[in-house]
């Protein structure tokens, strides 16, 4: 596929000059003959531009904290924020050996529903009373408190309220200062949530977890059951997942996460902080994986096996790959006939626009424009740029935890992996461990990477590239349809899924094929108009 050079000035013609200067830095067209160009990311959105971005609270409560199934999460603020983040993300949960159905809060919404008088006189008392009532009614294992926009302004001290409540009730009450205006997107909320989970939950468990190959699966939210599919696959090979973060995760399991041998990271953006901090504190190495796409799944399975270097494990890995592949290949080939050669846009979050490129490639499709709402430069360009990222007023507002090696629990990474230091060093040298290369290397030549895309740019890019399919969220889905382009929601999978691993790829392929070929696309022009166009045929 050859893609022509996009004239950025023409693309941005109606923008005021200041906006052009800003937005130009957020769009990069890949040129294979050059090394990765710098992209600006994680900076303020232009007011009024019609962004897709959400807020810090959405990143903290909606993405990271909310899915923890056995904690009550109270949103402290007026009613809206709690309401909109209630059941609107498809992080599925279920009861298991450690967590009976009585401890599942996924269908619930708790809001302090602040009123004008609380804004004037402060909401601390109300929050404290609500915690007491909730403990009285539900007896939860632990509680999260998430702040919304006005809380910081009126000066409620959530730390003090939480601490007092912990003393009253003898359970952990964590608070998250994730007011919507913090940072520039959901990303700030991920970081705030990572910090609290790291500081107050991970490492607090004392139940010994047994297993030869213990892993955590970080940055997997179990949308449509994705995590369950991954768990099934990994268990076949002999791994045990101690906890995901945070899809279908439980407080009681997160407390024991420090006992694993290896951390696997699916969504780098939302969870890399914990992966890093666990490495510092416990010496746990981490590996970036991707279970979206057949080839990607195979590569990830092989990489994980290599991390342990165990011959049996490697053999079992190959056996499972062969078996799964044989089962799905005929079906994939069938859908590939419909999908092959088609192009797509992907505008989502902070990692999916990259992950899905693998799966689409399995189907013979190319992503010509890929955008993130809330990624940082490293998600586009790779982690080696991290030292060069300048902090600004917005990013400085998000606290960094200063983590040190735990005196009792720290173990060298090679001991975690049960291998010699030399072998471990070889593994590190291969560049796999603790690394993420970002989206750029996987973009097609001439493909566009766009950060915080707005409505105008999206519309223009659709005109220029005429994609066959757009992967995006609910706000854009119907716009895409009205522009005549089929669209799949990449946050909710349009209520299908799971899309991970081998089976998931088939489900995805079927959904994509259906979206491309649903008969109504051919019926948009009414017959009376067709007669005009086609000369009364």
């Amino acid at each position: 596929m050859t893609l022509s050079k996009v004239d950025m000035d023409e693309l941005m013609a109606p923008f005021p000059d200041k906006v052009v200067r800003n937005r130009k830095k957020h769009i990069v067209q890949k040129d294979c003959t050059e090394s990765c160009q710098q992209i600006e990311a994680n900076t303020r959105t232009v007011p009024g531009i019609i962004t897709q971005r959400g807020c810090c609270y959405a990143g903290c409560k909606g993405v990271v904290v909310g899915p923890i199934k056995d904690m009550v999460t109270i949103t402290h603020g007026p009613i809206g924020c709690a309401y909109y983040s209630w059941g609107t993300r498809r992080n599925k949960i279920r009861a298991d050996d450690n967590t009976p159905a009585e401890d599942l809060y996924g269908a619930m919404c708790f809001s302090t529903d602040m009123q004008e008088s609380d804004i004037v006189f402060g909401g601390e008392k109300k929050l404290a009373k609500m915690i007491d009532e909730i403990v009285g009614i539900f007896h939860p294992r632990a509680i999260n408190i998430c702040a919304t926009c006005p809380i910081g302004l009126i000066g409620d001290d959530l730390g003090a309220v939480s601490k007092a409540a912990e003393e009253r009730h003898g359970i952990q009450v964590l608070h998250y200062d994730c007011e919507g205006y913090k940072g520039v997107s959901q990303s700030a909320g991920h970081h705030i949530a990572n910090n609290q989970i790291m500081e107050h939950i991970i490492g607090k468990g004392t139940d010994k977890v047994d297993g030869k190959y213990l892993v955590n699966f970080l940055g997997e939210y179990n949308i449509g059951g994705d995590a369950w599919e991954i768990e099934k696959l990994l268990e076949q090979i002999g791994y045990k997942i101690v906890s995901t973060l945070t899809g279908d995760s439980a407080y009681v399991n997160i407390r024991n996460m420090h006992q694993v041998h290896l951390n696997l990271v699916q969504c780098h953006r939302s969870i890399n902080y914990i992966a890093d901090m666990m490495e510092t504190k416990y010496g746990t190495p981490w590996l970036k994986v991707n279970f979206i796409g057949i080839e990607a799944t195979i590569e990830s399975l092989r990489d994980i096996a290599q991390c342990f270097g165990d011959k049996d494990l490697i053999k079992r890995t190959e056996f499972v790959i062969e078996k799964e592949l044989a089962a799905v290949t005929p079906e994939i080939e069938r859908y590939k006939k419909i999908c092959n050669g088609k192009s797509a846009f992907a505008f989502v979050g902070g990692s999916r626009s990259h992950h899905y490129q693998y799966l689409l490639r399995d189907l013979g499709m190319d992503v010509t424009v890929a955008g993130y709402e809330f990624a940082h430069r490293d998600d586009y360009e790779g982690r080696e740029v991290i030292p060069t990222i300048k902090s600004d007023a917005d990013s400085r507002n998000i606290p960094e935890l200063h983590i040190e090696a735990d005196q009792e629990m720290y173990e060298e990474p090679h001991i975690h992996l049960k291998m010699s230091k030399e072998k471990y060093d070889e593994l590190v040298a291969s560049g796999k461990l603790g690394n993420y290369e970002g989206m750029y290397p996987d973009m097609v030549d001439g493909g566009i990477m766009i950060d915080d895309a707005n409505h105008y740019e999206t519309e223009e890019l659709i005109e220029i590239f005429k994609p066959d399919l757009i992967f995006t969220g609910i706000k854009d889905k119907y716009i895409s349809h009205k522009m005549g382009v089929p669209s799949k929601q990449m946050h909710s999978y349009d209520y299908s899924g799971p899309y991970t691993c081998f089976r998931g790829a088939v489900t995805f392929a079927e959904d994509v094929a259906n979206a491309l070929s649903t008969p109504a696309w051919k019926m948009i022009t009414p017959p009376w108009d067709k007669a005009d166009i086609e000369g009364g045929e």
């Binding site: 109606p14 810090c56 959405a58 809206g80 309401y83 269908a107 919404c109 919304t148 926009c149």
Partner: protein
């Protein structure tokens, strides 16, 4: 399902603070929805960008259509120093890039807490010739999404409606209330059927139920035209449907332009529809056409024909007050027993109105609550169950936990489609409601029946 809730109902007074599974959301989404009912309008959310994103998502999920809106994208700096610069920049960018005819600004709890003076900021903004910027305040810590809808309706009247010196025109203003476009279309059809010219706003028909056309328009063909809204000051009368969503805007129009405001219920059910038609008949001195009499007769005929399918069944209703009140009235008309009636929105009138309806019908033992939530409702149901739930999608968890069928009505309905196009108002909407209620109960009966009780004809 909902296993975390206590098996036995909790003692009175256990849940007094905050909301658990609310039956309301915050003001701005209502303001955004109302603003989308103006042709070529871009709603603007003055606050952090998360609110705007959430509101657009919620609206898109309910309507299966784009909900376009922009945001001031506050950062920490704006929350400290105020959002004036963000709003001015937004207004400039929006007009230059997206060229709407009008921007309708609403606030969020952040800009309200800061205390941004929106009218002053608008005055300092660059507004191109012939374009409009209007606003309303929507503090989320007061009222609900219905209040926000009402506040934007008030903002529209305040900024746009004008009266000439000429005598009032033989036309009626319709303030339809927080209802689906399918209802707005139906209400206006009835008025047209009566031979009365009308101006309706907000009018989200062909905006939030817009058809698939050959070409994409960022501003769909629907929505009330600004010149019509202006002209509403010259109308003879306003029918203000819904005490919570429309009455205050009509009162403002009455004092601003001397247009008589007639507060009415949203015409759900026979009685409320009759009342609307009578108000129009009296106000414009017209005859009710045969066509409407036929429609009404069809409803009554149906009620008589199949009353035994639902009569005496107990129902729990929850949702917005302007919907729940006439819906309860319809249930009484159908001979059903509204057992539990809850709204999340505040207002003493809610309990009073429902109570007097029940009293008049001689129904005892019902429980009614304004500012309630679904946790409350669930507790009541655990004490004594009902045969049917009617309300938005959020009740589906109670429906499953307690094994009670659910008829989806109101906002939001996230898990079914097509409903925004189909009316529940007017006589036709009434038929649709009867059909939904009756079919749901009959499906249940069929599903539960033993083989020997399973029958062809019901």
């Amino acid at each position: 399902m909902l296993d975390c809730t206590p098996k036995e109902p909790v003692p009175e007074g256990s849940h007094t603070i905050g909301k658990i599974n609310p039956v309301k959301t915050c003001q701005p989404i209502g303001a955004m929805y109302a603003a989308l009912g103006i042709h070529r309008c871009l709603p603007h959310s003055h606050g952090s960008q998360g609110c705007c994103s959430y509101h657009r998502m919620a609206l898109s999920r309910h309507f299966h259509d784009p909900a376009m809106a922009s945001t001031s994208s506050f950062t920490e700096g704006a929350s400290v120093f105020g959002g004036a610069a963000n709003l001015k920049t937004s207004i400039k960018n929006v007009f230059q890039i997206y060229d709407p005819d009008i921007i309708a600004v609403h606030t969020t709890c952040l800009s309200e807490t800061i205390g941004d003076d929106i009218p002053a900021i608008i005055k300092q903004s660059e507004i191109p010739e012939g374009k409009y910027v209007i606003h309303c305040n929507t503090p989320s810590y007061d009222g609900s999404h219905v209040t926000g809808f009402s506040n934007m309706c008030k903002g529209i009247v305040n900024y746009l409606a004008e009266a000439d010196d000429a005598p009032k025109k033989e036309q009626v203003n319709i303030f339809p209330g927080y209802v689906n476009p399918g209802d707005m279309r139906e209400i206006q059809r009835i008025v047209t059927e009566m031979g009365i010219k009308s101006i309706m706003y907000p009018d989200t028909t062909n905006v939030m139920d817009s058809p698939m056309m050959k070409k994409y328009e960022m501003y769909p063909m629907g929505g009330a035209k600004i010149e019509d809204i202006k002209d509403s000051g010259n109308s003879k009368m306003t029918i203000a449907l819904g005490a919570w969503s429309s009455a205050e805007a009509a009162a403002i129009l009455q004092s601003k332009c001397k247009v008589q405001g007639v507060p009415l219920k949203i015409p759900i059910g026979v009685k409320a529809t009759d009342e609307m038609i009578m108000a129009l008949k009296d106000g414009f001195d017209v005859e009710v056409p045969l066509s409407l009499e036929i429609e009404r007769g069809q409803v009554i005929d149906t009620l008589l024909d199949i009353h035994f399918q639902y009569e005496g069944k107990k129902v729990a209703v929850y949702g917005d007050p302007d919907i729940v009140i006439p819906l309860t009235e319809l249930l009484i008309t159908m001979g059903m027993i509204p057992k539990y009636i809850i709204t999340g929105t505040n207002g003493k009138k809610f309990e009073q109105t429902i109570n007097s309806m029940l009293e008049e019908a001689g129904i005892e033992g019902s429980k009614i609550k304004a500012e309630g939530d679904l946790f409350d409702l669930h507790q009541w149901i655990k004490e004594e169950s009902v045969d049917l739930l009617i309300g938005n999608s959020h009740g589906k968890y109670i429906a499953r936990a307690e094994d009670i069928p659910l008829v989806r009505v109101g906002f939001p309905v996230y898990d079914r489609a097509v409903h925004p196009l189909m009316p529940i108002t007017g006589y036709r909407g009434c038929l649709r409601l009867i059909e939904m209620i009756s079919n749901t109960l009959l499906d249940r009966r069929d599903h539960d029946a033993l083989d020997q009780d399973y029958e062809l004809i019901l």
